[in-house]
């Protein structure tokens, strides 16, 4: 089954593996997810243990800290990339104090389906964080606003982006984060119809093929922005 086709209905229990070396955050995340009725199969502290736990539990999604022992640089990312190859059905949410362009590029190289990259700050908004994790578990995408703004800045499509109205740019950014129309409507406090109108206008201006599926729409937007996804 292709990861992008796999969907997770609202209210479904997610099976999650957490890889985070700081005990405080590891326990906090476990509690947060269990509070919301999800099941944390394993909470580990390094990349090798992550791969073992994913192999053992076959979870829906893994939350992975980028900096972990032994070198405290990017072992989380490397473990996640290995995991993506070995277990394409499992979503990966990278979780870091920093957004690095080279990390997001590597992460999105294999496609944006079932991939997330969020700043650790985002966990402060519990509902949004849980929603992002659910998206990733269901084969969707969850990119930090910071990742998206870096993609916008680095994009070679400045000409195309310049034709958009400020509101349309906002909607495009939220689409690139991986959000659905209803989530965008809630975020911008507008009606669902208004969002649909904006989306249609954006796709026409940028010359993108319209697509009903949220997941594939994200891919089209990211591809347009020049990310390898």
């Amino acid at each position: 089954m292709n990861a992008s086709q796999q969907t997770l209905k609202a209210g479904t229990v997610m099976r999650v593996v957490i890889a985070e070396d700081a005990a405080l955050l590891r326990e906090g995340l476990t509690r947060l997810l269990e509070d919301r009725g999800h099941s944390v199969c394993a909470a580990v502290t390094d990349g090798d243990a992550l791969l073992a736990a994913v192999a053992a539990h076959q979870p829906d999604v893994a939350v992975v800290d980028i900096r972990m022992p032994p070198t405290h640089t990017d072992e989380g990312l490397r473990a996640a990339l290995t995991m993506r190859k070995a277990f394409p059905g499992t979503g990966v949410l990278m979780f870091s104090q920093y957004i690095e362009t080279s990390y997001s590029a590597q992460l999105l190289e294999g496609g944006a389906a079932g991939v997330g990259y969020l700043l650790k700050d985002r966990v402060a908004n519990v509902a949004e964080f849980a929603a992002a994790l659910e998206r990733v578990a269901g084969g969707g995408t969850a990119l930090d606003p910071e990742v998206v703004s870096q993609l916008f800045r680095a994009s070679r499509q400045r000409g195309g982006l310049a034709t958009l109205t400020p509101r349309e740019r906002q909607v495009l950014a939220l689409m690139a984060e991986g959000r659905s129309n209803s989530a965008i409507a809630a975020e911008l406090v507008v009606s669902g119809g208004a969002v649909e109108k904006h989306v249609a206008s954006i796709f026409t201006k940028l010359g993108l093929p319209p697509d009903e599926s949220d997941n594939r729409r994200v891919l089209a937007v990211l591809h347009y922005l020049g990310s390898p996804a």
Binding site: A22, L25, G28, L29, T101, K120, D121, V123, V126, R153
Partner: protein, 434 residues
């Protein structure tokens, strides 16, 4: 003229009565003995070490003996320096401490190249003739002291003895004469005075030479070596500070940042669980939550300013993030072969950041290009070009002066080309090692 002669004669004759003379003679005695012993210890160990290591089987033992000889020489040198400081009041700074290498071969290599130790060896070898003269001077003075006591000896001990009293008079090198009566002992005493005077002044003269040897061979080395020593310590200082900054960033990441993230998460969870009707508590909780999130963002910027974590993955990776966060479109092209030292990477990164900030602030540019590559000569080259208005002037108190200073701490340099109307190109050249 007469005055002068009388003064000099006074100095010559009174010299033996000064404390300085006692110290100089003591130095001659102790230093001479140490010198003779040191000569033989050194030469035997060196000769053994060299001959044994010349044979194939004994290479290891021979080299060990050689390094031992070098270590002992350093110790002997320290002993001579201390004697000179204590007795001659002639203080010579010690040469730089030995810096051991890493690994067995590295250690051996460093030992064998230890210039301070080899200079100490040469002191030990040259010291032998000096020590001989020093011992001769001391002996002469001591014999002289004995000779001076002869008139008293005669009166006290010679009532019943027969035969002559033998007087040792070591001039020109050794000799004796006999005295047969009380009057003769005055001659012996006179010979004693001559010996004491001669010993005193010989000691002073030879010690002048010995001081020079101590300074030249046991002190800190020549200017060139001093410079290379300073370069080495500067590299250490630069690398040390880069490592310290990295450590601070890591401590922030594992400490304050992590705790704040957990705090924000807990506050977020508390907010979720709170009943809607408790408006005051909710307001307070919201404020606390907002503050925690803001503090996290502040702390992240601070940590990035201390040591950007992406630098751990190399300059291209770190510069890519830097360019992606720039307010003006920026592109990076990187072609760095082997990785420069961490301290150099840090300097290059902060140069690029500062130059980009300058371009954004002053140039009205539409595009910034960062180019980083390694020249064939092992020089790291960073070029930051913008298509702005140009006319940047390093002398006008811009950040460029500070940058040039920072770059010069590792012998790098900075070139500015900014004609009015642009484009502006700043080139920073850095060595690959600090």
């Amino acid at each position: 003229m007469n005055e002068e002669i009388r003064r000099v004669t006074g100095i010559i004759l009174c010299a033996p009565l000064t404390r300085r003379t006692v110290r100089e003679l003591l130095y001659c005695g102790l230093g001479g003995l140490a010198g003779v012993a040191g000569f033989w210890i050194t030469i035997v160990m060196l000769a053994l070490g060299l001959t044994i290591s010349a044979s194939i089987l004994g290479t290891v033992i021979g080299l060990l003996l050689l390094t031992l000889a070098l270590r002992v020489s350093r110790r002997l040198g320290a002993l001579h320096r201390r004697l000179a400081g204590w007795l001659l009041r002639y203080r010579v700074e010690a040469p730089p401490k030995f810096q051991p290498g890493t690994g067995i071969l590295g250690r051996l290599d460093k030992r064998l190249r230890d210039r301070a130790a080899w200079r100490a060896v040469s002191y030990s070898l040259i010291k032998l003739p000096v020590a001989a003269v020093q011992l001769y001077a001391t002996t002469t003075a001591c014999i002289g002291l004995v000779d001076i006591t002869y008139p008293v000896d005669w009166v006290l001990f010679r009532h019943q003895a027969t035969g002559p009293m033998v007087v040792v008079f070591p001039f020109p090198f050794s000799g004796t004469f006999n005295v047969y009566g009380f009057a003769g002992t005055y001659l012996a005493a006179l010979a004693g005075v001559v010996c004491v005077l001669a010993g005193t002044w010989l000691a002073r003269a030879v010690n002048v030479g010995d001081r020079r040897l101590v300074r030249a061979l046991l002190g800190p080395s020549s200017m060139a070596e001093r410079v290379s020593e300073l370069e080495r310590t500067r590299t250490l200082a630069v690398e040390d500070s880069a490592a310290a900054l990295r450590r601070v960033e890591r401590d922030l990441h594992d400490g304050a940042q992590m705790r704040l993230a957990a705090l924000a998460m807990n506050l977020g969870m508390a907010r979720e669980k709170l009943d809607d009707d408790d408006a005051t508590v909710r307001e307070l909780l919201d404020a606390a939550h907002r503050n925690a999130v803001d503090a996290l963002a502040d702390l992240r910027d601070l940590a990035r300013g201390i040591h950007p974590p992406a630098l751990d993955n190399g300059l291209p990776s770190a510069l890519a993030t830097l360019a992606a966060s720039s307010a003006i479109p920026a592109s990076v092209s990187a072609d760095v072969g082997s990785r420069p030292a961490p301290a150099i990477e840090t300097i290059a990164y902060f140069c690029a950041a500062e130059l980009m900030a300058n371009a954004i602030k002053h140039s009205y540019a539409n595009q910034i290009k960062i180019n980083i590559f390694t020249e064939r000569s092992g020089v790291l080259c960073l070029e930051v070009t913008d298509d702005g208005i140009g006319g940047a002037d390093a002398a006008r108190g811009s950040g460029l002066t500070g940058l040039a200073q920072r770059v010069s701490t590792v012998d790098g340099h900075l070139e500015l080309s900014s004609p009015p109307g642009g484009p502006t190109t700043v080139t920073v050249k850095l060595p690959l090692r600090a």
